[in-house]
C-alpha cells in the first residue's frame, strides 16, 4: 500500500510533520511505514517560465534559441533547446543554471539527478533547460496531459491558467509530494484505504480527521426502472449495491485527480475509470462499471458459475470457470467474475451512454481461492481478499456518484439498488481498564484510555461499560484487542520494562538434546564438521541409492504441494543429504572432508491420519584421510562416551545396497540394530560424482538415547600384575574377527581383562583361503596375583572354543 502525503493531508489538514517524523510515529502506533520516496528528491530550481521568443540556431538545424521569461517582473534568460514541440508563448517548466533534473528525456533516471549548468550549445549561450515530464522523473503514463515527445507545456492544460511565472514548477505538477510505503497487517482491512490511514495519522498526531462529506445525489428518476439485482448465494456476497449513471461524457479526469492517482502509481485513463480507482484507493472498496446497454434483461444476478463454463474477461483472456467461482450475470449470461475482473462483453467503451456502477462485498476467502484457481491477481481482488466491511459499499458508491457529478461526467440516476440481506451492525465489547493495566504492566487512567478510543472512532458507553466498535474494525472483538489499542496509542516505548516475577524455575535441556550436544562434541573431536540439509528430497533418490523396488523405505510422506519433484518427499534415509554435501565439497576440490548431521527422518505410519515417526539420525560421512575402521572408531568412541559399556557386534549381512557389498555392517547392541556403517558403493559414488572412497555411518538416536547412561562408578585401579598371553592363529578367510572375539569373551573366564588384535596378515606363506591373526589376551585378578595354572586353564578353554571354529594355532 502506497499513499502520498498530500492525500493524507486532504483529510488531516493540520498534519505538520516531516517525512521521517511521520514514518517513525506511524510505525510506533502500528501503521508500519516501510519507507518513503520524495518525488522531487532529485529536482532542484525548476520554475515556471514562458517562451517569449524563438529563433533558429545559426549553426544547428535541430536547435532553437528561446528567450524565456522566468518571473513576473520580466527577467529573461536565453535557453537553447532541441525540443520539437515548443512555440512562442508556451509556459513550460524550466530548470535554471545550477539546478537539477531527475534524468534524461528517455525516462532513464540518474541516481542523485543531473546537475544543469549554463554553457554553450554549438557556440550559443544557454542558461538552463526546458524540461520534459521524463526529465522531471515521471512519465507520460502518469501525466497523460504531457506530450508524446518533448517539453511539458503548462499552457496546453487549462487547469494551469494563471500560473505565476517564476513559481515552482515542481509544486504545480504535484511533484512536491512524498509517497509512503506501508506494510498493513491483515487484520487492519480499513487501512488498505487512504481514509483508514488518515484516521490513524490523525489519532497518532492528535489532529482532527476530516473525511469527505458525502451527499446522496441523483436525478428524479428511480434506479429500479433501469435495473434490479438478486444475490443467489448470500454467503459469498454479503451486499450488492448498484447505481446508474446516464449521459456519460467520457473525458480525461481533472488534473488534481490525475496527480493524486499518479502519486499512488495509478495510471489515469478517463474520468469513469479514474473515479472507480480513486474511490477504491480512498475507501478500499473496489468498484466496477458496466455498460448498462450490454446488460440483458435489466437484471443483475450474483451466482456461482457453471462447471467448466468459458468466459472472456475484459483483458481479452478466455477463462475456464468452475462452480466455486462467483459470477456477476445478467438475465442471460455472465458479465464479470465477481470481485476479480469484469467481462469483455460488458466493458465500458468509448461510446458508452449509460453505465451501471457496482460496489459489492464479496467473501474474502472465496475471492482468494478463485483468484488462485484462475491464476489472476487484480487490485480489486487484493482488496476483497482481506474481507471488507459491507457498510463501506454504499458510502463508496455515493462518493463515486458525487465525483461523477463534480466532474460533470454524467447524470446520476436517483436511488440505489441495495441487496443487503444481513446488515452488519456495530459490536459492543466489554471494557475493563484495570485489565488493560494489569496486562500491560502500566498505570494509565481510564479517561486517557477512552480518549485514545475516541480518536479512532471507538465510542465508549459509560452506562454499560462497553466500547462500541464500528464495523470497519472487525479486528476488535475482545478485551485483549482493546488492550492493544490502548498500548499502541499510549506508546509501546512508554510501557515499563520488568522481568517476570513468580517462583524461580530451573532451566534445562532435555536428555535428548544433551545427547545430541555430546554427539556434536565427539564428531568434532574427530574432525567432522556439522552439515544441515533439507528434510525433503526427490523420490528419485531411492534409485540413486540402489534401493530394492520393494524396499519399505520407499514408503514416504509425500508433500501434496511441493516446490517441485526434487523437494516432494520427506526423507526416510539421511544419506542423500550427506552424499550431496560431500559431492559439493568434492566438486570444489576440498580435501579430506568429514561432515556430520543430526536431523530427522520421517517414517510414515500405517494409519495416515497419524503423524509419522520422526527419528533423529546421527550421520557421519567422510572421504580422504581415514577408512572404514577410523569411522568405526568414531562410532564406538561416541557410544562409549554416552555410557554404552558392553561391546557392539557388527553384522556384515545387511541389505543396504548403497554400501560396498564387502564393506558394510549393521551395528548391533545386544539383539537390536542401532545403526549401520560402510563404504559407499562405487556405483552410488559415480552417481553423486564423488571420485574418492567415501564412508558413512548412521546411528539411530532414539535407540541410542534409550541405551545411554551417564552413571559412573569408580572401579579401583588394579593393584595386582596382569599376565598377557599372545596367540597366533591360522584362520579361514570367511571367519570374522568378531567370531573369534566372541569366543575369547565367552571362554576367557572371569579374570580375562582385555584382548586386542595385534596382527593380521594374508598372502605369502599363508595358505590360500586363510589368514593369519594374532591376539594378545590379558588376564588379571582384582585380589591376587594369578597363578600360572589358572591362566593356562583359561587359555585352554579359549583354544578349545577356537578349534571348534576350525582355527589352528600357528606354531
Amino acid at each position: 500500500m502506497n499513499t502520498p502525503l498530500s492525500w493524507i493531508r486532504a483529510y488531516v489538514p493540520d498534519l505538520d510533520c516531516n517525512a521521517q517524523e511521520y514514518m517513525d510515529a506511524m510505525t510506533l502506533t502500528g501503521t508500519k511505514v516501510e519507507g518513503y520516496e520524495r518525488l522531487d528528491a532529485d529536482l532542484d530550481q525548476i520554475i515556471v517560465g514562458r517562451i517569449n521568443k524563438i529563433e533558429k540556431h545559426p549553426d544547428a538545424d535541430k536547435l532553437v534559441i528561446c528567450q524565456v521569461q522566468i518571473d513576473e517582473e520580466g527577467t529573461s534568460v536565453q535557453i537553447v533547446t532541441g525540443a520539437p514541440n515548443v512555440k512562442e508563448g508556451d509556459v513550460v517548466p524550466v530548470v535554471l543554471d545550477g539546478g537539477r533534473v531527475a534524468g534524461g528525456h528517455d525516462g532513464e533516471k540518474v541516481s542523485g539527478g543531473v546537475k544543469i549548468k549554463k554553457g554553450k550549445l554549438r557556440g550559443v549561450e544557454s542558461n538552463g533547460m526546458l524540461c520534459s515530464i521524463e526529465e522531471l522523473g515521471s512519465s507520460k503514463e502518469l501525466y497523460p496531459d504531457a506530450p508524446e515527445n518533448g517539453i511539458y507545456i503548462f499552457s496546453d492544460n487549462p487547469t494551469y491558467q494563471g500560473l505565476k511565472l517564476g513559481s515552482s514548477a515542481i509544486s504545480a505538477l504535484g511533484l512536491d509530494d512524498i509517497v509512503f510505503e506501508y506494510e498493513i497487517t491483515s487484520n487492519r482491512v480499513d487501512c488498505f484505504g487512504v481514509l483508514g490511514i488518515a484516521r490513524e495519522a490523525a489519532a497518532t498526531f492528535k489532529k482532527d480527521f476530516i473525511p469527505p462529506v458525502i451527499k446522496e445525489i441523483g436525478n428524479s428518476e428511480n434506479v429500479s426502472d433501469y435495473i434490479s439485482a438478486e444475490i443467489k448465494d448470500p454467503n459469498l456476497c454479503s451486499r450488492y449495491v448498484a447505481r446508474v449513471v446516464k449521459n456519460i461524457k467520457l473525458a480525461p479526469s481533472p488534473t488534481w485527480m490525475q496527480r493524486r492517482l499518479a502519486a499512488n502509481g495509478i495510471r489515469p485513463i478517463n474520468n469513469i475509470v479514474d473515479i472507480t480507482n480513486y474511490v477504491m484507493e480512498e475507501y478500499s472498496q473496489p468498484m466496477h462499471a458496466y455498460d448498462l446497454d450490454q446488460i440483458e434483461g435489466r437484471k443483475i444476478i450474483v451466482r456461482r458459475s457453471n462447471e467448466g463454463e468459458q468466459f472472456q474477461t475484459l483483458d481479452g483472456q478466455m477463462r475456464t470457470l468452475d462452480s466455486s467461482i462467483l459470477m456477476i450475470c445478467d438475465a442471460q449470461k455472465p458479465i464479470g467474475i465477481a470481485g476479480i475482473m469484469g467481462g469483455e462483453n460488458s466493458k465500458i467503451t468509448d461510446d458508452v451512454k449509460t453505465l451501471l456502477f457496482e460496489a459489492a462485498c464479496f467473501d474474502g476467502t472465496n475471492i482468494r481461492l478463485s483468484g488462485k484457481k484462475l491464476g489472476m491477481r487484480t487490485d480489486a481482488q487484493a482488496k476483497f481478499e482481506k474481507g471488507l466491511d459491507p457498510n463501506t459499499a454504499m458510502e463508496a458508491m455515493n462518493r463515486a456518484c458525487q465525483l461523477i457529478e463534480e466532474l460533470n461526467a454524467g447524470e446520476v440516476v436517483g436511488g440505489a439498488v441495495d441487496i443487503y440481506p444481513n446488515r452488519r451492525e456495530k459490536t459492543r465489547v466489554k471494557f475493563d481498564y484495570t485489565h488493560t493495566n494489569r496486562l500491560l504492566g502500566t498505570d494509565i487512567s481510564k479517561e486517557e484510555m477512552i480518549s485514545y478510543f475516541k480518536k479512532i472512532d471507538l465510542e465508549y458507553d459509560e452506562a454499560t461499560n462497553e466500547v462500541i466498535v464500528p464495523t470497519w474494525r472487525q479486528d476488535i472483538a475482545c478485551q485483549a484487542d482493546l488492550d492493544e489499542e490502548v498500548a499502541r496509542f499510549y506508546g509501546y516505548d512508554k510501557i515499563p520494562v520488568t522481568l517476570p516475577s513468580g517462583e524461580a524455575m530451573t532451566g534445562r535441556l532435555s536428555f535428548k538434546l544433551r545427547l545430541e550436544s555430546m554427539a556434536r562434541d565427539l564428531a568434532q573431536q574427530f574432525g567432522f564438521s556439522e552439515a544441515q540439509t533439507y528434510s525433503f528430497e526427490s523420490p528419485k533418490v531411492f534409485d540413486k541409492l540402489l534401493l530394492e523396488p520393494n524396499d519399505p523405505l520407499r514408503q514416504t510422506i509425500v508433500i501434496s504441494n511441493p516446490l517441485g519433484e526434487d523437494y516432494s518427499i520427506m526423507r526416510t534415509l539421511p544419506l542423500n543429504g550427506m552424499l550431496s554435501s560431500l559431492a559439493t565439497n568434492y566438486n570444489r576440490r576440498n580435501k579430506d572432508v568429514r561432515l556430520y548431521e543430526l536431523a530427522n527422518i520421517y517414517l510414515p505410519k500405517e494409519d495416515s491420519t497419524k503423524l509419522p515417526d520422526e527419528r533423529m539420525q546421527f550421520i557421519l560421512g567422510m572421504y580422504g584421510k581415514g577408512d572404514f575402521y577410523d569411522l568405526k572408531g568414531v562410532v564406538e568412541e561416541f557410544l562409549e562416551k554416552i555410557g554404552i559399556k558392553k561391546p557392539l557386534t557388527y553384522q556384515p549381512n545387511t541389505n543396504r545396497n548403497y554400501f560396498h557389498p564387502g564393506r558394510r555392517a549393521e551395528i548391533y547392541y545386544e539383539q537390536e540394530s542401532i545403526g549401520y556403517l560402510g563404504e559407499i558403493h562405487p556405483e552410488v559414488l559415480d552417481r553423486y560424482e564423488i571420485g574418492e572412497k567415501t564412508y558413512i555411518a548412521v546411528l539411530d538416536m532414539p535407540k541410542v538415547t534409550e541405551l545411554a547412561n551417564f552413571e559412573i562408578k569408580y572401579m579401583g585401579i588394579a593393584k595386582f600384575p596382569a599376565v598377557t598371553r599372545d596367540i597366533s592363529m591360522l584362520v579361514k578367510k570367511e571367519i570374522l574377527a568378531g567370531q573369534i572375539e566372541e569366543v575369547i569373551r565367552k571362554q576367557g573366564g572371569k579374570h580375562m581383562e582385555s584382548y586386542h588384535l595385534f596382527d593380521i596378515y594374508e598372502g605369502e606363506q599363508i595358505q590360500q583361503g586363510y589368514k593369519s591373526m594374532a591376539y594378545s589376551i590379558c588376564f588379571r585378578a582384582k585380589d591376587k596375583t594369578l597363578e600360572e595354572k589358572e591362566i593356562t586353564a583359561a587359555m585352554n578353554k579359549i583354544l578349545k572354543g577356537l578349534s571348534e571354529l576350525g582355527i589352528e594355532l600357528r606354531q
Binding site: 488492550d483 517476570p500 532451566g507
Partner: protein, 339 residues
C-alpha cells in the same frame, strides 16, 4: 703423614679442577677414594701412627675424604649442567615452523547461534523442549487462532501432506502442545525446523529454523515481555543493544509486537547494514491471545503470558555477516570451518 695427606688433598683438588669430563672425574675418584686409592691407603697406614694420635689423624683423613667427595660432586654437577646445556643447544628447533594441528570439526553457525540462545534462556530458568516437524493443522493453525481460510494461512505458504497434516510453518504449535500438557508456571523455548514454500534464494529457504518462547504464569505483563527480550538482546548482541517494540499483528497474540534491535554494526547511527535506519528487525512477540490460552485448557482469567518467535537463520546471518542464506545449506567445509 700429615704432609702426605695435605699433598694428596691438594693433588686431588687440582686434578678435579682440571677435569674436563665425567669419565676423568670418575678416574680421579678411583685414584683417590677407590679401594686401592691413595686416601684409602693413607687410612690403611693408620696403624703406623702413635695410637694416641690416631683419632685426630683419622679425623683429618676423613675430612680430606669428605672434602674431595664434595668437590667431586660439585664438579660433577657443573659438568652435567654444561653437558645438558650443550645438548639443548644442539636441540634448538625452529619454533616458527608450522604447527601440526589435530583435525577438529566445527559446529554449524545455526547451531552456534542456537546454543548461545539456549544458554541464555536456560540461565533464566527456561526449559528447552521440542515438537514434531510434521504437525497437525490443528496445532499449527487452529489452536493458534488461525481458523481455516484465515488470510494468515496465505502469508505462510504451507506445505501440506493431507488436509489435516502439514509441515509446520512455525514453532508456535509447540506452545500449544506444552500448554496442553503442563500446568503453569511455564517457561519454555522450543527451537526447531520449520517449512514454508519459498523458492530458494539469497534470503529465502523452504526450510529454516525458529526459536519459540513461551511464559505463562499469574500476572505476566507486557512489561515483562519487554524486559525479557531486552535482556536477551543485550546478551546476544552486546550490552549496549537497545530494543524497540512496534505494534504488529499475529493471530495468536494480542497485543502483538515486532522487535527491532539497534544495529550492532553501527550502534544505531545508521549504516548500509541496517539500510540507514539504525535498527534491525529481529523477532515477533506478544501477549498470548486469551482464545489460545482457552483452547489449550488454561484459564485466561487466572493466567496470562507472553510468547515470541525468532528466526534462527536471521540471528546467524546477522551475527556472522553471512550475505547469502544458501551458504548455510551447501555445507562447504571452507564455509563451516570459519565458525
Amino acid at each position: 703423614m700429615k704432609e702426605k695427606l695435605q699433598t694428596l688433598k691438594e693433588a686431588a683438588l687440582s686434578q678435579i679442577n682440571a677435569a674436563g669430563g665425567l669419565e676423568k672425574l670418575n678416574e680421579i675418584r678411583v685414584a683417590f677414594l677407590g679401594k686401592k686409592g691413595e686416601i684409602t691407603s693413607v687410612l690403611k697406614s693408620l696403624k703406623e701412627i702413635a695410637p694416641q694420635e690416631r683419632p685426630a689423624f683419622g679425623q683429618l683423613v676423613n675430612d680430606a675424604r669428605s672434602m674431595i667427595e664434595e668437590k667431586l660432586e660439585e664438579k660433577k654437577r657443573t659438568l652435567e649442567k654444561k653437558l645438558r646445556e650443550e645438548k639443548m643447544k644442539a636441540e634448538t628447533i625452529d619454533v616458527t615452523l608450522p604447527a601440526r594441528k589435530p583435525m577438529l570439526g566445527h559446529r554449524h553457525p545455526n547451531t552456534i547461534a542456537l546454543e548461545e540462545v539456549e544458554r541464555i534462556f536456560v540461565g533464566m530458568g527456561y526449559e528447552v523442549v521440542e515438537g514434531p516437524e510434521i504437525e497437525y493443522d490443528y496445532y499449527n493453525f487452529e489452536a493458534l487462532n488461525i481458523p481455516k481460510n484465515h488470510p494468515a494461512r496465505d502469508e505462510q505458504d504451507t506445505f501440506y501432506i493431507t488436509d489435516s497434516i502439514l509441515l509446520r510453518t512455525q514453532t508456535s504449535p509447540v506452545q500449544v502442545r506444552v500448554m496442553e500438557q503442563k500446568k503453569p508456571p511455564i517457561r519454555i523455548i522450543a527451537p526447531g525446523r520449520v517449512f514454508r514454500s519459498d523458492e530458494v534464494d539469497a534470503t529465502h529457504s523452504p526450510s529454516f529454523h525458529q526459536i519459540e518462547g513461551l511464559v505463562i504464569d499469574k500476572n505476566i505483563t507486557f512489561a515483562d515481555l519487554k524486559g525479557t527480550l531486552a535482556q536477551i538482546a543485550k546478551e546476544l548482541f552486546g550490552q549496549e543493544t537497545k530494543v524497540k517494540f512496534r505494534p504488529h499483528h499475529f493471530p495468536f497474540t494480542e497485543p502483538s509486537a515486532e522487535v527491532d534491535v539497534t544495529c550492532f554494526k553501527c550502534g544505531g547511527s545508521g549504516c548500509r547494514f541496517c539500510k540507514g535506519s539504525g535498527w534491525i528487525e529481529i523477532l515477533g512477540c506478544g501477549m498470548v491471545h486469551p482464545k489460545v490460552l482457552e483452547m489449550s485448557g488454561i484459564d485466561p482469567k487466572e493466567y496470562s503470558g507472553f510468547a515470541f518467535g525468532v528466526g534462527l537463520e536471521r540471528i546467524a546471518l546477522l551475527k556472522y555477516e553471512i550475505d547469502d542464506m544458501r551458504l548455510l545449506y551447501e555445507n562447504d567445509t571452507r564455509f563451516l570451518k570459519q565458525f
